[in-house]
C-alpha cells in the first residue's frame, strides 16, 4: 500500500496521488486562513488584520494644500511668513513673537505646561509639527484653517497682546516687509492717516480704547486693515505648513512590513508596544492615520493642572467661537469659501455634546514635545501611559451626554508601559 502525503501548512500536497482533487487541495491549502495569516516580521508577529491597520499609519503623505489660502506652498509667502513668525514687533510690547512659544529648538513648542508670553496662558502650547494636516486648530478647534489660527495669538492679551491696526502699521512702515507684502498681495495701504487708521485698534482688543478706535473707523477702512491682517496670517500659515515631520524608525518598520521582509527597524520592546497600541490599548482608535490623530475631540477625563485653573469648556466653547469668527473657511476672506474646509464647517453640529472635549493631538515627534495634555498636566510619556493604565486620577466625564466608554483601565504591567513608551519614541523623526 502506498503511503500518501497530505497537505499541511508547510508543504504542498502531493498532487500526483490525488487526481482531480490534487489541485483543489493545493488551492484550498493556500486559502486556509492560518497559512496566510502571519508573515515573518521580527520579534513580534502581527496578524493580517493588524498589518492592515499598520499600513494606514504610514507613510505620512505630503500635507494637503489649503485651498482657503491662495499663497499656501508659495516660496515667497513661506519666506515672508517665516520673517513674520519671528518678528517681535507683531506683539503689543515688542517682546514676543510666534517663535517665543513655538520655539524651533524646543520642537516648536516651549517645554512648559502653560505658555508664558504677555501673560500666562491657560492651555499647553501645541507643537506646530504637522499642523498643516489638522482639520481644526487649537485644543478646542476654534480656528478652521492655519491662517485663521495664526491671527488669534496676535490679538490675545495673554499671548502677543497686539491689535490688527498695530500690525498693519508695522508692515506699512517697514520697507522690507512692505516690499514682500506687495510682491505677494499687491501694495498695502499706507495707513499714514492717523485719523482714519489709529495706532491700535481691533474688535478682539483687550482694552476698550482699542475697541472703540476700531468701531469708529469707516467700514471700508476696517476692511482694508482686515485684508492686510488676513494676508499676514496666510503668509505665516504658508511657513507653518512646511513644518512637517520626516521619516521615523516606525515608518521604516512599516515599509519593511509592506515589502514583506523581516524588520529590525523597531526594537522588540517597541514592536510589543506597537501591538498594544493598535490592539488592547485601543490607542489607534483616536490616534489614527499617518498623523496619529483622528483630528477630532474627546474627553479622556484628565484632571485640571491645579485647583486654580478655571473650568474649561473645551470644544463646546470652540464651536461657539467659530460661529462668531469672520475669518473662517467659508467666510469673506477665504480663498475657497465653498471647499472641503467650508463643508466641515457647514456640517459642524453646534449642539454636539462636546463640553470639556479637547483635540486628539498627533503623536509624531511626541517624545520631543513634553509636557503633555491640554494643560501640560503630565511631564513624561511614561506618566501619560501610566494614566491610561490606572485612570486613578481620572475625573468624571465633563459632558454626561457623551461618554467615551472606550477609556477604561488598561492595567498594564511595567514591561507593557516600557514597551508603549518605546513605541511612542519610535515616532520621532530621524535627527
Amino acid at each position: 500500500m502506498s503511503r500518501r502525503r497530505f497537505a499541511s501548512c508547510s508543504s504542498e500536497p502531493n498532487a500526483r496521488h490525488y487526481g482531480w482533487l490534487g489541485p483543489l487541495y493545493i488551492v484550498m491549502a493556500l486559502c486556509t486562513g492560518s497559512c496566510a495569516t502571519t508573515a515573518p516580521t521580527s520579534a513580534v508577529e502581527f496578524s493580517s488584520a493588524e498589518r492592515e491597520l499598520l499600513l494606514t499609519l504610514s507613510p505620512l503623505p505630503p500635507p494637503p494644500r489649503d485651498e482657503t489660502n491662495a499663497v499656501d506652498g508659495n516660496s515667497e509667502a513661506i519666506a515672508f511668513g517665516a520673517a513674520l513668525f519671528f518678528d517681535k514687533r507683531l506683539s503689543g510690547n515688542g517682546d514676543v513673537s510666534c517663535g517665543t512659544c513655538h520655539d524651533p529648538a524646543k520642537a516648536w513648542t516651549d517645554g512648559r505646561s502653560l505658555p508664558q508670553a504677555q501673560g500666562t496662558g491657560i492651555r499647553n502650547t501645541l507643537s506646530i509639527w504637522n499642523a498643516a494636516y489638522q482639520r481644526w486648530l487649537f485644543w478646542d478647534g476654534r480656528a478652521d484653517s492655519l491662517w485663521s489660527q495664526a491671527l488669534h495669538p496676535i490679538e490675545d492679551p495673554l499671548e502677543m497682546n497686539s491689535t490688527r491696526l498695530q500690525v498693519a502699521h508695522v508692515i506699512a512702515s517697514d520697507p522690507s516687509l512692505a516690499a514682500q507684502y506687495k510682491n505677494l498681495f499687491g501694495e498695502a495701504p499706507s495707513f499714514e492717516d492717523s485719523q482714519r487708521f489709529p495706532t491700535r485698534g481691533g474688535p478682539r482688543a483687550h482694552d476698550v480704547d482699542a475697541q472703540l478706535n476700531w468701531w469708529q473707523m469707516q467700514s471700508s477702512d476696517r476692511e482694508q486693515v482686515n485684508r492686510v491682517f488676513v494676508n499676514l496670517g496666510k503668509a505665516i500659515a504658508a511657513f507653518e505648513a512646511t513644518i512637517v515631520t520626516t521619516e521615523a524608525p516606525f515608518d521604516r518598520f512599516v515599509a519593511d512590513l509592506r515589502a514583506g521582509r523581516p524588520s529590525n527597524a523597531l526594537s522588540a520592546s517597541a514592536q510589543r508596544g506597537l501591538k498594544l497600541f493598535i490592539g488592547r490599548g485601543n490607542c489607534a482608535v483616536c490616534h489614527s492615520g499617518p498623523t496619529f490623530s483622528n483630528l477630532e475631540f474627546h474627553d479622556i477625563r484628565v484632571p485640571a493642572l491645579n485647583e486654580q485653573m478655571p473650568p474649561d469648556m473645551g470644544r463646546a466653547r470652540g464651536i461657539a467661537e467659530l460661529s462668531a469668527d469672520e475669518f473662517v473657511s467659508a467666510g469673506y476672506f477665504s480663498d475657497q469659501p465653498a471647499g472641503t474646509r467650508a463643508q466641515h464647517l457647514a456640517f459642524l453640529d453646534a449642539e454636539a455634546a462636546v463640553l470639556g472635549h479637547f483635540k486628539t493631538p498627533g503623536l509624531r515627534n511626541v517624545a520631543l514635545t513634553a509636557p503633555y495634555m491640554h494643560q501640560g498636566q503630565m511631564a513624561t510619556l511614561r506618566e501619560v501611559v501610566e494614566y491610561y493604565s490606572k485612570l486613578d486620577t481620572a475625573v468624571a466625564p465633563a459632558d454626561p451626554n457623551h461618554i467615551e466608554a472606550l477609556i477604561v483601565e488598561l492595567d498594564l504591567t511595567e514591561r507593557e508601559i516600557d514597551d508603549l513608551v518605546a513605541f511612542l519614541e519610535s515616532l520621532s523623526s530621524d535627527p
Binding site: V285, S288, F347, L348, A352, L406
Partner: protein, 150 residues
C-alpha cells in the same frame, strides 16, 4: 478488482476534502469577520414593517474620518397611512460601544425624484456605528437601524 486500501484512501480523500473545505471557509469567514467593511445593506425594513428603505452611500464603502453622503429611497406602501401625506426622514448615528455619536449634523434634502439625500455624515473613528433612521408618514412613525463596521 478494487483494493481494500483504495476504500481507505477514498474515505481519507473525503475526510481530507471535508477538512480542507472547513478550514478554507473558516479562513474566508475569519477574513470577513476581521476585515472592516464599511458597507451598507442595500435594503432595510423599519421596525414594524411599515417602511422599506433602499440605501446607497457615496463613497462606498463608508470611509473612516471623511465626510460622506447617503441617498435613501423610502417605500411607504406598507405603512398604516395610505393618505397622500408626505414621507419624512431623519437620521443619526452613534457608536454604541463608545456611547457617543457624531460631531457633525446630518442635513436631509428631499430630491425631485422623492429620494432623500443625507449630507454631513462623518464617522471619525473605526469601530461599529449604529445608524438610526426615523421615518414618518402622517401619524405613522417608525425607526430603522443598521450597524456598520469600519
Amino acid at each position: 478488482m478494487r483494493n481494500p486500501s483504495d476504500n481507505w484512501n477514498d474515505v481519507t480523500h473525503r475526510a481530507l476534502f471535508a477538512l480542507m473545505v472547513t478550514a478554507s471557509l473558516g479562513g474566508i469567514t475569519a477574513a470577513h469577520a476581521d476585515g472592516a467593511s464599511g458597507l451598507l445593506p442595500s435594503e432595510l425594513t423599519s421596525e414594524h414593517g411599515g417602511f422599506r428603505l433602499t440605501l446607497h452611500s457615496t463613497p462606498a464603502p463608508i470611509p473612516v474620518n471623511e465626510l460622506f453622503e447617503m441617498v435613501v429611497r423610502v417605500d411607504a406602501s406598507a405603512a398604516a397611512d395610505d393618505s397622500s401625506n408626505p414621507v419624512w426622514l431623519r437620521a443619526s448615528a452613534e457608536m454604541p460601544a463608545h456611547k457617543h455619536g457624531m460631531n457633525t449634523r446630518v442635513i436631509v434634502e428631499q430630491l425631485e425624484n422623492g429620494e432623500f439625500a443625507l449630507k454631513g455624515l462623518l464617522f471619525h473613528m473605526r469601530g461599529e456605528w449604529l445608524i438610526t433612521f426615523d421615518v414618518a408618514k402622517g401619524r405613522v412613525h417608525e425607526q430603522a437601524k443598521v450597524r456598520v463596521l469600519l
